[in-house]
Symmetry: C3
Subunit: 353 residues, 3 copies
């Protein structure tokens, strides 16, 4: 169960170069490529001639050429040409709305005519000298909602990430969850604690003392379909915490774009955007590697949790206060899924309109 | 089709240390751990909070702690505590009767209330200065009964293990199979033959000549659910064979505990207990390595036999005299499975009692 | 859907030495071995005793001996002997007609009584001093008919094999497809073109200039069940092309025997027979390695095409003029499959005859 009429990250802009790229998004095999003037395009990864995967082909003068028999495919899913053939009667394949923006390639797996680039989330830090960004990518065999749950309940840091960002105080300080329309926010503010290793590293990276008490915050924001942005940071204690002046704190945004591949697998694009010391490329690298190590600790847990849930589909899981972020996010998703389902029925041929 | 109300070896005592251990036994995913005072415990490998595998957690002060969000599980499957939560209403998970004895951890996959530690088979050689023991472990993709068949018909040694313990005379001397209650015994006594390589090694290990004729015996004993103990040995010929005085013979017990993982996979715990030269640790090692090599020769045969049987479920296999041990063992199993089934119906809610 | 009453290549003669060889052919697991006087034999890879794979056994005095308990199997699928057993009542297993000829082992997966060695295709080049032959073998996860399509439409060379045998002119020159009974022939003749790299190498191998225009031909011949022989070559332009005198040309036959393993996997035996410079073993090697590299370029395309077709079983593929070779070959197959089906019904017990 995925939302289809929405934007998902398909790949980073840097992943898509001269060669076409085949990815499965919400169950659809799609080939992405750069057409004329570097404009991104996306069509079904299925040649209408004999079913070959177009992603094994190449791009020539902005046209996607099938690597099997040379059929030239257009961005709209219509065959442009094929050596020695008249192609007018060739069946079209699906094309997908796709946009390059903010360093990512965004795809809309639903109807092209429903797509609206204005709905792509705005990423403040992109191409902004006040910010630095680093990120990476994992394949994980789990339902995308298990990853949303994970990111909307950071008490797991205490256990899964005990040597880096976890600390007992996360468990001890309750979180607040607020729903405003499609936005779900879960916040936790800890005061007068010692920073865990990752944040000590970040404090030093911003030339701040790492051995005195700090205030720490975590503000998780879910927006559909499965984007979770988490403001995180620490400030030297007693300077206002989250609202402290820049010279007292280090803060950043954990960026999570979760793209369902199938019902039980995801493409997970993670990263961190920070507003301190943005020109320090070595710091960007060390944060990225720290984050890669931390996020890799979740993989086995999520995949074996998924295995357990598939083996026991009948079991109702608990919905505790710490789970409120995930629970509310799923409620937003359920409402939107129902709206999408209803809209599809209304649009179906033969329906009175 | 496995017996559930019976004891199976889950792991060796040495395998279970500080970290919890997840294993699948008779289709159930179970986590084993050492609670207070090193006492072993076993519960479902499924956290009642969000379905995470408890085996990825850790043990703290005798409590199993979920590695995802810190839920503390008790030996009885009831949640003890969770940071910031009242746990009284949490659903319980299954707990399993489990006993550490004779160097193994034994689990009873059926009802805890039906479990009886008195039914764990007694292992004479454990912690006994007259005996030495060495063993190992394999995963094999086959029905546990194929392994019982294998061990209750040692004519296969002539073919599968021709370079170590096999010899033509095994085929030539008929075996006798006797059933007494749940015990099935298949015996073969060969007289005045030359010892095969493994037994020459053992003779030398006991400082006996290896180049003169011997009498050789094999006495396989099956007991439910799937334990096969095989008395094996050779004596210098003419001294009474199996009954010869200790100075004329080398004898040992091949130990086989077969634990069904699924319908078509097993945990296979094998070993050898010997009553000669028990303090010679180097001999224990060389016997263990010899046995590992020998038993690994069975793996491919059993797995491809299983593949063949799955592809031809309709074919009736032959039941020859050499198969009597396996055939009788399956009859015992079938009777006990039927008893277990009948008892489960009698106990079912709504049944007149 | 495979033809069963026909000959398939099971392995090369060189592959079958002292040890039995287990292969799956048209869904049947078969063990091949050399019986008395090196005569090949083939029976089900299933021991009638306990279902063990006979291919794990060995051959002794022309008899296939089961490696589990020593049952001796005859070429006709009847048990000959077993230590300590009377075998007269043992159920027979299927035996298969099998012939060693032209360097290959040929098997007839259908009824033995219907088999006719006279229907094995004649291979001119075998054991013929005017010819040299080299070849190899791949497993590929695709329907055998996708490989037939591939070989009966060589326009794919332009795309899949662009650096070796592909060239634009293949696309530009139309092919002719002719059906004569069960034989489907697709031909293409290109005149006054430059030879692509593979053929330049072959020209030099035959001491001919590689930098002047040539005429090039491709004559693909499909015969059931799935054999494709392709006459290919180049001649210095203006000497009659395909009909040029030997001193002006290099020509060879691409040999393709495609044996279905399952509905979606094949054993693919490929090779090249050439009539020039036959004693140059180094040339044979370099052609074989060139061909191996070229044919390996098809593997991923065929396997992902198969994946796409399995995901979209409802989609009708295009049948263009370039596809005529494959389309006609499938028509021949469909007709023969229908004949085989009708014959099976007529022969079925209980049918009026």
């Amino acid at each position: 169960m995925f939302l289809k009429n929405t934007w998902y990250v398909a790949c980073t802009a840097a992943e898509l170069q001269e060669k076409p790229l085949g990815r499965q998004i919400c169950g659809e095999r799609i080939v992405f490529y750069r057409a004329l003037d570097n404009k991104v395009a996306a069509v079904e990864d299925f040649c209408p001639h004999r079913g070959a995967p177009l992603s094994l082909g190449y791009v020539c003068e902005g046209k996607l050429v099938c690597g099997y028999h040379g059929l030239e495919m257009g961005c709209d899913g219509k065959t442009i040409a094929m050596p020695g053939q008249r192609v007018r009667g060739f069946p079209a394949i699906r094309s997908f709305a796709v946009v390059e923006r903010f360093g990512f390639i965004w795809v809309w797996p639903g109807g092209v005519n429903l797509s609206d680039p204005g709905k792509i989330p705005h990423l403040d830090w992109y191409d902004n000298p006040e910010w630095a960004y680093g990120g990476g990518f994992f394949y994980i065999n789990c339902d995308y909602r298990l990853m949303v749950d994970n990111l909307m309940d950071l008490t797991h840091e205490t256990y899964v990430h005990s040597s880096s960002i976890g600390q007992k105080e996360i468990d001890e300080v309750p979180c607040q969850t607020v729903v405003e329309g499609d936005l779900v926010t879960t916040s936790r503010h800890m005061t007068n604690i010692m920073a865990p290793p990752f944040w000590k590293m970040a404090l030093r990276g911003n030339k701040l003392a790492d051995d005195i008490p700090v205030d720490r915050w975590q503000i998780c924001r879910f927006t559909p379909p499965s984007n979770v942005m988490i403001e995180v940071g620490v400030a030297h204690a007693g300077n206002g915490g989250y609202d402290a002046a820049p010279e007292h704190k280090v803060g950043s945004v954990v960026v999570d774009f979760i793209t369902p591949e199938t019902e039980t697998s995801i493409l997970y694009f993670w990263g961190m955007a920070r507003k301190f010391n943005p020109t320090d490329a070595a710091l960007t690298d060390s944060i990225r590697e720290g984050q890669r190590k931390i996020f890799s600790e979740d993989l086995q847990m999520l995949e074996l949790q998924q295995r357990n849930l598939l083996a026991h589909p009948d079991r109702a899981l608990l919905k505790l206060n710490i789970d409120a972020g995930g629970v509310q996010s799923r409620k937003v998703l359920d409402r939107l899924l129902e709206e999408e389902r209803a809209a599809a029925i209304a649009l179906a041929p033969g329906n009175p309109s």
